[in-house]
Amino acid sequence: MGLDRFSRYVIAFVLLTILPIGLLSTSAPAADAVSSTASESVPPANPIEQALIDIKGDDAALRSQAAAWLIEKGDASLIPKLDEIRAEADRAVRQAIKPVIDLLKNHANLTSEQADTRRSAAADLVGTGRPEAITWLEAAAVKEQVWWVKYTMEESAQLIQLRSDDHAVKLAAIKKLGELRSQNGLSALKDVVEAGTQSGATEQQRVLADSAQASIGQIDSWSWWAGSIETLFRGISLSSILLIMSLGLAIVFGLMGVINMAHGELMMVGAYATFITQQAFIAWFSPEHFDWYFPVALPVAFLSAALFGLVLEATVIRFLYGRLLETLLATWGVSLILMQAARVYFGDLTAVIAPQALRGGAQVMVGVYLPYNRIFIIILSIVCVLGIYFLLFRSNLGVRVRSVTQNRNMSACLGIPTRKVDSYTFAFASGLAGIAGWALTMVGNVDPGLGQNYIVDAFMVVVTGGVGKLAGTIWASLGIGGLNKLIEPVSGAVYGKVFILVGVILFLQWRPQGLFAAKGRNADA
């Protein structure tokens, strides 16, 4: 009964986590499909032709007049013509045309199909400072459905209004920017404050400075929160990477008494399996199926790493059970061999292209941006923990593994094939390393040193967590990952690592056996 209910929970959980992602990805293009407005009333050919001729002319006043006219009435269809003119014109003309082209392009891009293009167009329009852009942005914002793009449009409109000469407009813009918690407006607002606090400032400037000060306060307190949330997210993300790597290590260390220094290289095997799958898809399948390589690579990575593990167990580790330090040295040798083999065969640097669904990220609120690949790894680590929990505590194999851990001889007497359990457990843990390698291709390059970069941290997690306890590994990776990201902004990445080492040593003063120590007769084994 218990098993039944558990599996139902797992299914429910998976559905709850996976479905919203699917929905998101399907709804995104729908939101993108803003009906592109047909260009408004086509002006008579004559004035445009005239303006195009004027802009080429020698008269500077006429040029700027033509440019202004083109900006007001023109649309994106003029860009090729303008480009043509620019290509053969002299410097002064090019300078006159450049803002025209930029504005027209960005104006056209405001109604683009891609949300990202719309957003960057809105952001770019601030730089031009043209008052016409305000109306464009406001019009686009009304129709906009993606909140983050809409936000950028409003923010950009206010930023341009801040440059206006009208006191009331300026004041409104300052207030609005504060309400929007505009990160980009910070420097402009600071300028306003500076202007207002100078000795020769007028009454109006002082009023503006005061309200700008208030807006800056609003923005700052908001960005403190946003920063904390992002730090928290980064901490959890690093923790989940550490966790996903340490799980396999913890299993072989805790349950089998083997220190597997080649664990990092088994991750590397998983990463290269992903890379090979990708290359196979590039070679044999059409580009529109390319993204499928990633799900296909999961079993490939798992199985290839598990196979390596099986061979490793059968050829090296089985001679060394019960001799921890010896397993450490022998597996280190294996890791050297695997690393060099990868270096010779694959060369130094290869990368995996992330599938479309994992590129980019979600802007959850102002100032908080969560990349999809990180979210993916967090979910994956949760799924892995659940899977291991299920396997160890809710399945037949798990019962055997745990009984062999507790008392090898007694288990053998009761008919459990201990040798088989050993090799399956080791292969499974190696497969987990393969999954970790598969996931790591999303956050970094695939290179022969992949395993080495993380292995020391992963061992820190296992040591801190205590041997043989899943909970210890989870808490330790949360602690170390979180602490790392907390310290990093203050001290830099390198000293962050040093602090973590010192922290772990001090922690072991207090708890020499790690967070969750084995108790009783097995404690000193």
Binding site: L328, A330, W332, G333, S335, L336, V456, F459, L508
Partner: protein, 377 residues
Amino acid sequence: MPEQMATQQNSRETLSFYVAGFVLLVVLPLLNVLPGEDSWLYLSDFRLNQFGKFLCFAILALGLDLIWGYCGVLSMGQGVFFGFGAYCMGMYLALQIGKESVYGSELPDFMVWTQVKELPLFWYPFKSFAGALFGGILVPVLFATIFGFLAFRSRIKGVYFAIITQALAFAAWLVFNRNETRLGGTNGLTDFKQLLGYRLSDPSTQRALYIITVLALGATYLFCRWIVASRAGKVLIAIRDSESRVTFSGYTPWMFKLFVFVVAAGLAGLSGMLYVPQVGIITPAQIGVLPSLEVVIWVAVGGRGTLIGAILGAVAVNYGRSVLTNYFPEAWPFILGGLFVVVVTMFPDGLLGMIRKLTDRKKTPTPLIKAEGSTAA
């Protein structure tokens, strides 16, 4: 009977000590000086210098053998202590360059690149040779005392200790790579010109350094033998074989471990100090995780738990490396990895164990390391 065997073994060791000492101290330098360059007996300056380097490594290996082979504590961070010693000597040598440097500045070259205007305070002691000698031993010893005190007192042992020391090596490597530690960053310290007024490029200086290294190795060997033969040495071996029993007999194992860890660190520092003037460069790449582990493999290959084995292993593995990297540069990591696997799984007693097995075939074989399970604890 065992008493007799022990003395027999001892006298054999003494004999080989004298023979090896004679060959290293007298024969090799003479082969370098006396025969003409085309004679087959001639030992080139390069070879002699290389041999001096191997002997430095032998001192490092002796330190690790004390702590790992005799006390059963695997330290994977010996490279850090080696690095401390090497950098102390390197700083002295870098300051001796003086006006001869590329930029003609009193400061070492890398400080000129990184826009350091004044000599950092911690460099001042290394203006004098005595300061460098003192620092090269004192810094690793002090560091090992603090680190070892924290680690051993809280009874971090076995693999836990190995992993922590490996993390130490990793952290040290990261820190030494930084420019703001003012130790030359990734490029390390190099381009040395003179030591106490003698030109380092001069073959006779290198010969003298070689002879000093041999003498230091001899002294280290005698020192280690003295420790191992003393009562404390017996306790060390007892800790290796069963730590709990030692505790129950009323000893405090962690004090002994700390002592031997500090001694090993001091020896590593000494080895680093001798290494730098002979090789002429020290970079963070020589003190990281992998170099620290290579020390372990030297000792394992030679035969842990025997002092001769450590020396033999260091020289043999390094000689093999220098030959093989010449012919098959890409194969060396395969061979090193293979050595780890093969030695650990098949020849836990190393080269010396194999030699003993062959020569002692008539007598009952005496394994050097008995209870394997208990060393792991």
